[in-house]
């Protein structure tokens, strides 16, 4: 049922995309064909899609984790930026051998994300500050911190809007994977994403901490009455969520890319919300949802090159999917209601009524 709702949301997203393409005089079938070709046409493209999906998985997990505790972490872009910035700065300045440097770079990204998420978490717990607004503010602060730190100290010598390229010793890219995938951007980040997914599943399902967090998410008053420290849980959930987004920054800026761009808010942070929603906040679902959105995001450039459809079509589809995922209760509620309605009068027709809703 829940997977059905997600599939319907995706279909409705594509319907919206198709309407948009039709309105600009393009054939939607050709458009979608180019979109998927762009993401999946060759080994290199498939591996690039997976490499792009890695930060999405991590931001998706990040949003999911906060959601379980009833918090909306829209600050993933800022947490990615700070995680990525710390990792990049360390990579550029430390000058250590790879076995030492790489763990340090990873740790730096985690710390950056944690600190950036701890602020809204603390403000929420201590002062009841709306975490959505404070997360957005933290995003903009991160945006300017990155902008000014990079343009003052780490600017590339050739391109004004980019930072210096990190040494290979600090990158998640390894020669073996790059050769094996015919020069794609795929890197060790995929293992980080897999480990993170497993860890999130473990924390949520097998630990006291996970139990308490879910309890707070279900009903914070009942949880409080049951002796759970709601405020501590809010901060902790945001910190863990931030660590995941920080790792997303690492896999994007020290893996998929090898430097940072100034003046750009990473869209993966916002797309993480879409990933989490489409996956219904199930960690395994996050993996698949991230790959699906990564296909759209990596394919849009190819489509744009082949026909005059602006690349923003992918973002429009993603936003539409979020909208329908948010209104999923409509599909579920109506399914029940119509089933009941038909069930009362003509019990035999009850299965047929399900279809009725799907076409909405």
């Amino acid at each position: 049922m829940k997977i059905l709702v997600s599939v319907i949301s995706i279909l409705l997203g594509f319907v919206a995309g198709a309407l948009l393409m039709l309105s600009s005089g393009a054939n939607p079938l050709t458009g979608f064909s180019y979109l998927f070709q762009g993401g999946l046409k060759s080994v290199t493209r498939i591996c690039n899609t997976i490499a792009y999906a890695v930060p999405l998985m991590l931001t998706g997990l990040s949003v999911t984790f906060a959601f379980k505790t009833g918090l909306f972490n829209i600050g993933a872009p800022g947490q990615m930026l700070i995680g990525g910035l710390l990792a990049n700065v360390l990579a550029l300045t430390a000058g250590l051998p790879r076995p030492l440097l790489l763990p340090l770079v990873i740790a730096a990204s985690i710390v950056g994300g944690m600190v950036w998420a701890a602020v809204p978490g603390f403000l929420k717990a201590r002062f009841n500050v709306n975490e959505v607004v404070s997360c957005i503010m933290m995003n903009w602060v991160a945006y300017w911190v990155v902008y000014i730190v990079i343009s003052d100290h780490f600017k590339s010598t050739t391109i004004d809007t980019e930072s210096q390229v990190i040494p290979a010793a600090a990158s998640l890219k390894t020669e073996a994977i790059t050769l094996l995938t015919k020069g794609s951007n795929l890197n060790l980040g995929i293992f980080i994403a897999i480990i993170a997914t497993a860890l999130v599943i473990f924390i949520l399902n097998r630990t006291v901490l996970g139990y308490e967090m879910k309890a707070v998410g279900f009903n914070r008053f009942a949880a409080e009455y049951g002796g759970i420290n709601v405020q501590k849980n809010a901060v902790l959930a945001m910190v863990i969520s931030g660590a995941l987004s920080g790792l997303a920054g690492l896999t994007f800026y020290c893996g998929y890319l090898s430097n940072m761009r100034i003046g750009v808010m990473p869209s993966q942070g916002f797309d993480g919300i879409a990933v989490a929603l489409l996956a219904n906040c199930a960690p395994v679902g996050v993996v698949f949802a991230a790959i699906f959105f990564a296909i759209l995001q990596t394919g849009k450039g190819f489509m744009n090159a082949m026909m005059p459809i602006p690349p923003e079509i992918a973002d429009t589809i993603i936003a539409t999917v979020i909208y329908f995922a948010a209104t999923s209760k409509l599909i579920e509620m109506n399914l029940d209601r119509i089933k009941k309605f038909f069930g009362r009068k003509r019990p035999s027709k009850s299965e047929g009524s399900g279809e009725h809703v799907e076409h909405h």
Binding site: L123, N130, V132, S134, M137, W140, I148, E312, I322, T327
Partner: protein, 315 residues
């Protein structure tokens, strides 16, 4: 110091007005019980419609008239787009934060898509409205120089809306119904008020106001539209909390934000700020917003039923 404030004032008002009118929109929505995180996206829609109107109609009818036409169309577009949020949160029991986020993401992407495909650029540059001095009044000491010189006509339009909004919310039967739906929808329902209809009115009004705010931003301060309103919609949301859901307090809160944003934007050009590190100036509006929220969130006067779905009891 005073000289600097006088220099900043016209710009600060330029930022305040779009934030103010959008926050007022948020006020209508939240007072009816619906959180509208999508204000930013609705502003983006308004900014695009306003910008495109000046771009196409400007050469035909003159920039000033085209700007007003654009503002009108932007209000219409904002209203229409906000129906998505109203439908999701009033009829479908959607999570209002997520629905609003979807609107933010959709607006930015959709506007850039249309802009690139049909106008041919992702960044439409338009001529700003002309600033005017208010005759006679501009000679009043202190405020004459601060607020009555170099003003946009839209500023006065928004101030009129502010007063009307205050009157409507605090002094009319509609306002009473609006507030009751935000505080205690069950009681409103028992008194024979259609909660759904009032909430629709609240959300659609917020769409109109945010559309207006976006259009004003484009045709005055920004002078361009590129699928973003630089986070002003979220500042409006913060202004609403900072202003404790009261129209005139919101005016004060948003004026404060207006000055904060101006400091970040133009202060590099003013000699008085030369010694302040650029990073401190750039993050100033966001940091003070958070500080303001810390001060005002604990004793929050938020509408009590805000964000809660109201379901009619079946008998």
């Amino acid at each position: 110091m005073w000289n600097t404030i006088e220099q900043m004032a016209p710009y600060a008002v330029g930022y305040t007005v779009p934030i103010l009118i959008t926050a007022l929109g948020g006020l209508f929505s939240e007072r009816s019980g619906i959180i509208n995180i999508g204000l930013e996206g609705l502003m983006v829609i308004g900014s695009f419609v306003g910008g495109v109107s000046v771009y196409y109609f400007g050469p035909l009818m003159g920039n000033a008239r085209a700007a007003w036409l654009g503002i009108l169309l932007a209000m219409l577009a904002g209203t229409l787009f906000s129906v998505l949020h109203a439908f999701a949160s009033i009829n479908l029991n959607a999570d209002q934060t997520i629905s609003g986020t979807a609107i933010n993401l959709m607006a930015g992407a959709l506007v850039l898509y249309i802009s690139r495909r049909f106008v041919g650029t992702g960044n439409i540059v338009v001529n700003s409205m002309t600033r005017v001095d208010i005759p006679v009044l501009k000679d009043i000491p202190v405020i004459g120089k601060l607020f009555l010189t170099d003003t946009y006509p839209t500023t006065w339009f928004v101030l009129v809306i502010l007063i009307v909004s205050w009157f409507v919310i605090e002094r009319t039967p509609f306002g009473l119904r609006l507030r009751s739906c935000g505080e205690f929808p069950e009681a409103a329902d028992a008194a024979g008020i259609s909660v759904a209809r009032i909430r629709y009115a609240g959300v659609l009004l917020s769409g109109a106001c945010a559309g207006l705010g976006g259009a004003i931003y484009t045709v005055t301060t920004a002078g361009q539209c590129n699928g973003s309103v630089d986070g002003l919609g979220f500042l409006a949301l913060a202004g609403l909390i900072f202003g404790q859901w009261k129209p005139f307090r919101i005016l004060a809160a948003t004026l404060f934000f207006g000055f904060a944003v101006t400091m970040a934007q133009i202060s590099m050009l003013l000699p008085s700020f030369a010694s302040v590190p650029p990073l401190a100036l750039k993050v100033f509006p966001y940091v003070v917003t958070m500080l303001a929220l810390v001060v005002f969130s604990k004793s929050s006067q938020a509408p009590r039923a805000e964000g809660k779905f109201f379901e009619y009891k079946k008998t």
